[in-house]
């Protein structure tokens, strides 16, 4: 990563956190549908970023979100898991001809079909872990599934919109 990239992604890190903590925290559609948009920061980091850096970034991001959500550890656990399986999952989805290591795996670079297969399972795992931990100690399994499914949809759709609005082809953010 070049210096300008590091500055760019640091700003993106802060922007994602700001939007998540001060705006999206208040937006819960129908009382069930959460938007945990911050996972898209990890999802759209360049492919060359190693798993160790991803883990630290995911841990830090999850902790900050948890502090503001008063859900200590829940976002952290889910995000660390997402950070750990992101790179193996990218590798498993290698298209013919391989990747250009320096481009970020975004919607505009990879196309909708690839991006859905890449992002949707990762978001699903993240959200199911988050809402599962939240539902521990209660017996509301039905509500847990509704919350998880509707939130996956909300997060994913808003993530797509954000990429269409704020991301450039090739250069990422």
């Amino acid at each position: 990563m070049t210096g300008s990239n590091i500055i760019k992604y640091s700003l993106a890190f802060l922007a994602y956190l700001f939007v998540q903590v001060f705006i999206l925290k208040e937006v819960v559609l129908f009382g069930y549908s959460f938007c945990l948009l911050y996972v898209f920061f990890l999802l759209t980091l360049p492919i060359e970023v190693g798993t160790v850096s991803l883990l630290f970034l995911g841990f830090g991001m999850g902790m900050v979100v948890d502090v503001f959500y008063d859900s200590l550890g829940m976002n952290t656990a889910a995000t660390v898991l997402l950070a750990f399986i992101r790179n193996p999952w990218i590798k498993a989805n290698t298209p013919r001809g391989g990747y250009d290591e320096h481009i970020p795996p975004t919607l505009l670079n990879m196309g909708l079909g690839w991006f859905v297969i890449y992002a949707l399972p990762l978001i699903t795992i993240h959200h199911f872990l988050f809402f599962y931990v939240d539902s521990l100690g209660t017996d509301n399994y039905f509500i847990f599934v509704i919350r998880a499914l509707s939130s996956i949809l909300f997060t994913f759709l808003l993530g797509i919109v954000v990429q269409l609005l704020f991301y450039n082809k090739k250069r990422g953010i």
């Binding site: 001060f22 925290k25 819960v28 009382g31 069930y32 959460f34 190693g50 798993t51 160790v52 883990l55 630290f56 995911g58 841990f59 999850g62 902790m63 948890d66 502090v67 503001f68 959500y69 008063d70 859900s71 200590l72 550890g73 829940m74 952290t76 656990a77 660390v80 898991l81 950070a83 750990f84 931990v133 939240d134 539902s135 100690g137 209660t138 509301n140 509500i143 919350r147």
Partner: protein, 279 residues
């Protein structure tokens, strides 16, 4: 030796992953105990400061409803004052000081709130420096709100009544039957009243108030209204649903209450327990 190190280096991502997940789950389980690590929640100085600043901007949007609620509360207090103040044409005697000043009150502003998770918390803009201590009750003019979980210097974190682990000692106002109000994690507008025996006659619309037994809340604060009564599935208790009287989606200003006699009550209870255990 070098080989072992190389091997471990090859597994560094996995090892780091396991370590970070262990930390995260340790946080999850330790936070759910009675006294969580206060630094890592929204009452720490940095997060609290940011939230307060945000609240300062957002609060203008609902000043109208806040004023209305305050005016209503004032009107009710004026009426109480009128009822309690001695008339000119009558003589009053102070019988005893037993019940005098056993509760102290504070006011605070809600700067962070959640209501759609299973375990919801609030953050208030007052902390240890203002005299807030863990365990105090929190309520507003509509009814109970929660209990203080942890305090930092300037902020405090409150377990919302919308928290599946919080039990509020309550009673049915008309019949004085005791039960525990507990949120079932489903709808932020309703809760359950537990441990009411089957023989009790409960009507839909009955008012549920705090019992004053656990010494967190004074007696008689509104909790909710009975919305549904069903015979419990297998237990000896009724399955009662409540409509909560507090609108958690519009919390702005709240009051904190501290029972100044709580220590005395607790020590008395402890003495009794020891005495009966000894026999």
């Amino acid at each position: 030796m070098q080989r072992i190190l190389l091997f471990l280096y090859g597994l560094r991502a996995l090892i780091l992953f396991i370590l970070l997940e262990l930390i995260a789950f340790w946080f999850i389980f330790s936070y759910n105990s009675a006294q969580g690590a206060v630094f890592f929640n929204s009452s720490n100085r940095l997060a609290g400061g940011l939230l307060e600043r945000k609240e300062a901007v957002v609060s203008y949007f609902y000043l109208g409803s806040v004023n209305e609620a305050l005016a209503e509360k004032n009107a009710r207090l004026l009426k109480r004052l009128e009822d309690l103040s001695p008339r000119d044409d009558s003589v009053t005697l102070d019988i005893d000081t037993l019940f005098r000043h056993s509760y102290e009150f504070w006011s605070a502003k809600v700067i962070n709130n959640s209501l759609h998770l299973s375990q919801n918390h609030l953050t208030l803009n007052k902390g240890a420096e203002d005299g807030i201590r863990p365990g105090m009750g929190v309520f507003n003019e509509q009814g109970v709100v929660g209990r203080v979980k942890g305090v930092s210097r300037n902020f405090s974190t409150v377990i919302s009544a919308l928290h599946t682990d919080l039990l509020i000692s309550s009673k049915i106002k008309s019949s004085n039957v005791f039960g525990s109000a507990n949120w079932d994690g489903k709808n932020p507008k309703s809760a359950k009243l537990l441990y009411v025996p089957r023989h009790v006659n409960v009507q839909i619309g009955d008012t549920i108030v705090t019992s004053g037994y656990n010494a967190i809340f004074p007696e008689g604060l509104a909790v909710g209204y009975v919305s549904e009564v069903m015979p419990g599935s297998e237990s000896a208790y009724l399955d009662i649903s409540l409509e909560l009287s507090t609108d958690f989606s519009k919390l702005t200003y709240v009051y904190l209450v501290d029972n100044t006699m709580k220590e005395e009550l607790d020590s008395l209870q402890l003495q009794l327990d020891q005495r009966y255990d000894g026999q």
